[in-house]
Structures are given as C-alpha cells and as structure tokens.
C-alpha cells in the first residue's frame, strides 16, 4: 500500500505519454464523450415518453434490460465487429449510462403532480412550455440524479478502455496486473476512486446551482 503512494507521488509518474496527467486526460475524454452522447440520447427520449406518457413501459423495461448487459461483453463484441479503437469503448459506456438517465428522466416527468400540469395548461401555457417551464424544473432533481449515477458508473468503468489497447487510468491497472507491479495497480485504482469522488462532488454543486430553491428540501 505504501508502495502505491510512492508510485503516485514520484515525479516520474507526472510526465510523458504514460504519465498521470496524460492518462487522466484520456480517461476524462472517454468519460465526457460517453456521458454527453448518453445525455443527448436519453434525456429527450425520457422527456418525450414522460410528457406524453406513452411507451413508458416498453422503454423503461428495455433500458433496464440494457443494464444487465455485461460491459466487457459488449466491448469484446464491438471489438470483434469493428476492431479496436474509440468506438468500442464509447458504446459500452453509453449502454451503461443510458438506462439510469432515461429511467430517471421519465420517472421525474411522470411524477410531476397532474394538478400542476393542468393548472399550467389552464393559465394558457403551450405543451412545449408546460414541459420546459413546469415539468422539467420540477423533475430536475431526479433527472440530475440519473445523470450523476451515470457519470459515476462511466468514470469507474472507463478503465476498460485499457483492455482494448487505449489509454485512460485503466492502463495502470491492466499493465500493473500483467507485469505484477501491484503498486501501479493500487495507485491506478486510487486515482479512479478519487476521480469518481470528484465527479460526485461536481454534480452536487451542479444540483445546487440548477435546482429551483423551492424544490431543494425534497
């Protein structure tokens, strides 16, 4: 364990292609791209089925079935089909992130009190405005929670990029295991945990900024 900290704080680890800054940047790059793509797909879909209240059963069950997909299995499948590269890493990470975002968005919108929606229609808001001015703000804590869960899973799972020859913090874990340099494995794992905690903190901050003060106590 102390070897792991020696490894973490030695100056050799903080520069070069295999240095921590490079690996951290790669890790963040895979994570951010996968999360953005998942948000772009899952949030509008969740809003649509939540607002219209149609197809929810089907979509939520499909999404939950998707949660059961083994990530390394998806990774290997895509590698066998398209070869190694960025795509095989992003697809399983997206598959991991879409279900919590989709389900939380859908549930968030669905659980907005019907009286509130009726009232907003009553005062003359259009459907689009009902969604953007009433339903989304009220559902925001749940939607953000979904994105936060997804982000956490992506950050901790992006280590699999190293399994198919890419970079990221997983490089330390896979290489360390293969070369029996266990201080590198532990050092890499500590970095992943630290990054996951930072991600969590970031989302707590975002939630404070975005959620309407009236909803915070919930």
């Amino acid at each position: 364990m102390s070897g792991a900290f020696d490894w973490l704080f030695s100056s050799a680890q903080w520069s070069g292609v295999d240095g921590i800054p490079t690996r951290l940047a790669e890790h963040l790059y895979y994570s951010v791209v996968a999360l953005l793509l998942a948000v772009v797909i899952a949030v509008p879909l969740g809003l649509l089925i939540g607002h219209t209240n149609r197809g929810g059963f089907l979509v939520v069950n499909l999404a939950n079935a998707g949660r059961a997909l083994p990530t390394t299995g998806v990774l290997l499948l895509v590698v066998v089909i398209v070869g190694i590269g960025f795509l095989p890493v992003v697809i399983p990470l997206m598959a991991l992130a879409i279900p919590p975002i989709l389900v939380n968005t859908y549930e968030g919108i669905r659980q907005v009190e019907p009286e509130l929606v009726d009232a907003s229609r009553g005062v003359g808001l259009r459907e689009r405005q009902v969604l953007s001015k009433v339903e989304i703000p009220v559902a925001l804590p749940l939607i953000l929670l979904g994105i936060r869960t997804a982000a956490l899973q992506i950050v901790s799972t992006a280590t699999i990029a190293a399994f198919v020859g890419l970079g990221g913090l997983g490089r330390y874990i896979f290489d360390g295991l293969a070369r029996q340099e266990y201080q590198t494995v532990i050092g890499g794992a500590i970095l992943v945990v630290a990054l996951a905690l930072l991600t969590e903190l970031l989302f707590v901050g975002v939630q404070r900024l975005l959620v309407s003060p009236g909803l915070r106590s919930r």
Binding site: L76, G83, G165, D175, A178
Partner: protein, 296 residues
Amino acid sequence: MSRVIRGAVVAVLALALLPACGGGGGSGSGKTVVVGSANFPENVLLAQIYAQALQAKDVTVDVKANIGARELIYKQIESGGLSVLPEYNGALLAYLDKTATATSTEDVNAALKAKLPAGLAILNSSKAEDKDALNVTRATADKYSLKTIEDLKAGAKDLILGGPPEFKTRQQGVVGLKDVYGLEFKEFRSLDTAGPVTVAALSKNDIQVANLFTTDPAIAVNNFVVLDDPKNLFSSQNVTPLINKAAVDSAAQTVLNNVSEKLDTPTLTQLMRQVAVDKKDPDTVAKNWLKSAGLV
C-alpha cells in the same frame, strides 16, 4: 485472457471427463500411472493423448485433467500425487529458474535436466511447440515480403505491434526485439494475451504485427502468417513429458517418447482447431489422432 476463456471452455469439457477421474487401479497388478494436466484446453488434450497411448499398452491409467496452474500441478508431481504431466520445456525452465537465459530446444532441455530435482525427469521433447511468435496478416506478409522476424527490419517503423501488456517490458518481447533484431516499431499497443482482442485487432489491421502462440487455431482460421525466429529470441516451448521417475517404468517411458516422436506443431494446431473451433471432445480428438499416427 485467452487462458481464462479456454479455461472456461474446458471447465465444461472437464465435466464430461469426470467419470474418467474416478477411482483408478481397478485392474492389473502394475502401479497406476496418474496423468495430470493444467487448466487450459491444449494441456487437457495432451493429457488425453498421453493417457490413451499408455492405456493402449496395458498401463493402468488415471486421468486428472484440468487441475490448475503450473504452481499447483508441479507440486503434485513432485510429491507423487501425479506421475506424468504434458509440459512446455521453456515455461517449465522459467518456472524453476527465473534467471534462465537458454532459448534453443537443446539448451533449454540441458538447463532443465540440471534444475529438476532427483525424483523428476523430462522425456524426449516433441517438435510441437506452443510458443510466443510474431504474426502478420497474409496481406502484410506479401506487402513487405516477410518470412522471418528479420525481414521486418525495413518496415517496422511503419507498423504497430500488439500483444499483452507485459510483452512491452520483457526481454522476450519489445525489449528483445530491439536488442536482438534491432527492430523499433511505430507503436506498441497493449491488448490481451493472444485472445479475441488481439486477433480482432490484427484481422482489422488496427495493428499489423501481433504476439500470438504458435498452436493458436486463430492463426489458421484467419490465414495469419507466423514469422520465423532465426535468432531464437523466444524460448522453445516444446511439448515434453515431465515424469515422476518412481511412478513411470521404462516401458511407459517408451510409450510417451513414441508420442513425442509423432507430434509436431502443425499436428497440434490441427488437433487444437478440432477442440477449440469445431468444439469436439478432447477425448475423441486424442483417440482419432493416436489411431491415425499408429500409436494405438
């Protein structure tokens, strides 16, 4: 990785073999010879070949296939719990002597004989080798006219090499390729140990040179070209019977030497293809080959 997958495949196959692992020594007055194997398909197949060849010569045999890693089974043969193991000479030497430098078959076997404890012995090595090798696609081989690792000299700077992570730092890998052959590749990609990722990366041309093992059925299936290693960078891994001398008499030793005589790398690759690709029972594959080789 591939060992793990192979191991999983064999775990299933091993269930089929369980009846054979029951109480031995039911008949005959001679001592029971216990043939063991490590937990990957090729080793299980070799154990079946040894066992059936011995049975055909009226030796009472008990098979304990698919036991585990070398650390485990070596201790068993040392203590007499096992009598015969299909071994790979280079890997066994590396296990017994971490600083060993021998790479040719003769040197490895000489070093092995010096290192083995008095109760154990190796019999004749077969020509069959399951060793590290550099592989390219047929297209790459044609483009750079590659036959041996030496031929990579001109093209290496344009080519990406892929293999398991440890390949980058060990002598029998990137380090030795530079020291012994003077090769520096454009890049090294850390992939899996001759598993599906490496095979897919090579066949999709994401990497152009891959570290695979010589008996890997994927080589034949994908029409890859194995590059010769004229300077013996990669140590020999001849399939060689390791025996506990007290448990294997000279008649049984002759039987095992006869098997080694007939076994070579193309044969073993072909047999492995039947097991790994065609999903045949190792038991049946062993039986058919022994018959065709005239050993039973």
